[in-house]
Each structure stands twice: as structure tokens, then as C-alpha cells.
């Protein structure tokens, strides 16, 4: 699997919209699912309103649960990154200590890793392929 991932390279998926209002989050999850199956190393970045995609305790009645889908993708090896400044703006981060880079976020699942804009740029830099969804 590792050798295959090296062969296929890294696919960066950038989501820029919240779940359920449109299908972009579903597109990203579907592509990530297929890409993992093909041997890609998959990295997902949630930017802007897309940070809502990883909120815990989502209970959509008639839609695919995006939070649970992201968790399953993470279990299979996808890296899920979230924009730190966007999450702070939207109330996900509590007691943030900028100096020590320590924060408390009881509504963020453990598979999500918050990164700064520099972290996002580094992700883009090293990606072999990029797909961006949600800029509507």
C-alpha cells in the first residue's frame, strides 16, 4: 500500500464550503474514497466554511453524514487538515494559547489536525495533484 501510494503520489483535496447546502463535501469525500482505493496518498484541507464539515455530532436526516464519512476516510489513511484561523473565527477553538500552540476544542474530532495558512501552503507545495471544490 505504501509503495503504491508512492507511485500514485499525493492528491490534495481542498474544500471551501460547508456540508449539506451543496454537494461539494460529498464530491470531496467520494473522490477521496476512490483515490485511497487507487493507492493515492490523500490529504484533505477544510478552508473557510468547510471547517463545519468536521463538527462532531452531526445528525443529517436525509443526507450522507459528512463528519462520519471524514472519520472513515481518516481511518483508511486520509489526512484531514482544518484551517486554524477559520476554526477560531467560527468558534471551534477554545482557550487558544498562540505562543504554546495549545488549544481546546471539544467539538472537533481527534482525527482532524488544525494547521495555519503556512501549513496549507506546504500541503499544496508537496501535492502531486490538487482538486478544489466549493468556490461558488
Amino acid at each position: 500500500m505504501v509503495a503504491e501510494a508512492r507511485k500514485k503520489g499525493t492528491l490534495a483535496l481542498v474544500l471551501f464550503s460547508a456540508p449539506y447546502g451543496n454537494q461539494y463535501a460529498n464530491h470531496v469525500c467520494n473522490i477521496a474514497d476512490r483515490a485511497l482505493g487507487m493507492g493515492y496518498n490523500v490529504e484533505i484541507f477544510l478552508y473557510g466554511d468547510a471547517v463545519h464539515a468536521h463538527l462532531t455530532e452531526q445528525k443529517p436526516k436525509n443526507f450522507v453524514n459528512i463528519g462520519e464519512t471524514l472519520a472513515r476516510l481518516a481511518d483508511r489513511g486520509a489526512a484531514v487538515y482544518s484551517c486554524l484561523i477559520c476554526a477560531i473565527a467560527r468558534g471551534y477553538i477554545r482557550d487558544y494559547d498562540e505562543g504554546r500552540k495549545v488549544y481546546n476544542s471539544p467539538i472537533t474530532p481527534p482525527f482532524v489536525k488544525y494547521v495555519t495558512v503556512q501549513g496549507f501552503v506546504n500541503m499544496i507545495k508537496k501535492a502531486d495533484r490538487i482538486m478544489m471544490f466549493g468556490s461558488s
Partner: protein
């Protein structure tokens, strides 16, 4: 990076220029393309004297981005379609036709993001 939305009303432009400036600061060569409604991001003299919009100035973001070494290109056809003259744009923006922009993307666009 291609910007296709006007300066205010959505987070797209702010978020794109935020990433653009961070990238240039990290030593990455970045070109911002203003196309479609995105050309309004290139208008100079935008202001919000009464604080009604109360959002960061994208004109300042564009100027900061260029000061850091970023390049901003405006699609000529989009300007003509909207009756915007070159003199109305922020100094330092480059106006290019669609074919030249396509060549630029193919030549330099290792990573293309559309906001």
C-alpha cells in the same frame, strides 16, 4: 490562483489573497489572475468610509501581495465586457489577453487554485 468573485459579499477573495501572500512570503512564485467578476478586485480607490461593509480591504491585500513580490494579472476580455478602463485599476496590475493567460497557466501553473 484565479479569483472569479468580486471583493466583498463572499469570503473567497479575502481567503485567496490570504493564501497568496502567505505563499509569496514562503518563497513561492505566485500569480493571481483576476477574471470574470474577479476583475473588480483590481479596482483602485475602494473605500468604506462609513464602515458599512466592515470587511478587510481587498485593495490593501492586493497591494500587500504585490509588495511581497506577487504578480497580479487581469484578463483583458473581462475588463472590456464590463467597461472597465486600465486607468481604473490598481497600479502594477498586468492586463493580458486570454491566450497569453492560457499560455501562462500552462507554462507556470504547477498548482492552480480557483476561488
Amino acid at each position: 490562483m484565479e479569483l472569479t468573485h468580486p471583493p466583498f459579499g463572499r469570503e473567497n477573495t479575502y481567503a485567496a489573497l490570504f493564501v497568496g501572500s502567505a505563499s509569496v512570503s514562503m518563497g513561492i512564485e505566485v500569480t493571481v489572475l483576476l477574471a470574470g467578476e474577479g476583475i473588480y478586485v483590481g479596482l483602485k480607490g475602494q473605500n468604506d468610509p462609513q464602515g458599512r461593509i466592515n470587511l478587510p480591504s481587498t485593495e490593501k491585500q492586493v497591494r500587500d501581495f504585490m509588495e511581497l513580490g506577487g504578480r497580479v494579472v487581469v484578463e483583458q476580455q473581462s475588463l472590456e465586457d464590463r467597461g472597465i478602463a486600465a486607468g481604473e485599476l490598481i497600479e502594477g496590475l498586468e492586463i493580458l489577453d486570454s491566450s497569453t493567460i492560457a499560455d501562462l497557466m500552462l507554462d507556470k501553473g504547477d498548482h492552480i487554485m480557483v476561488f
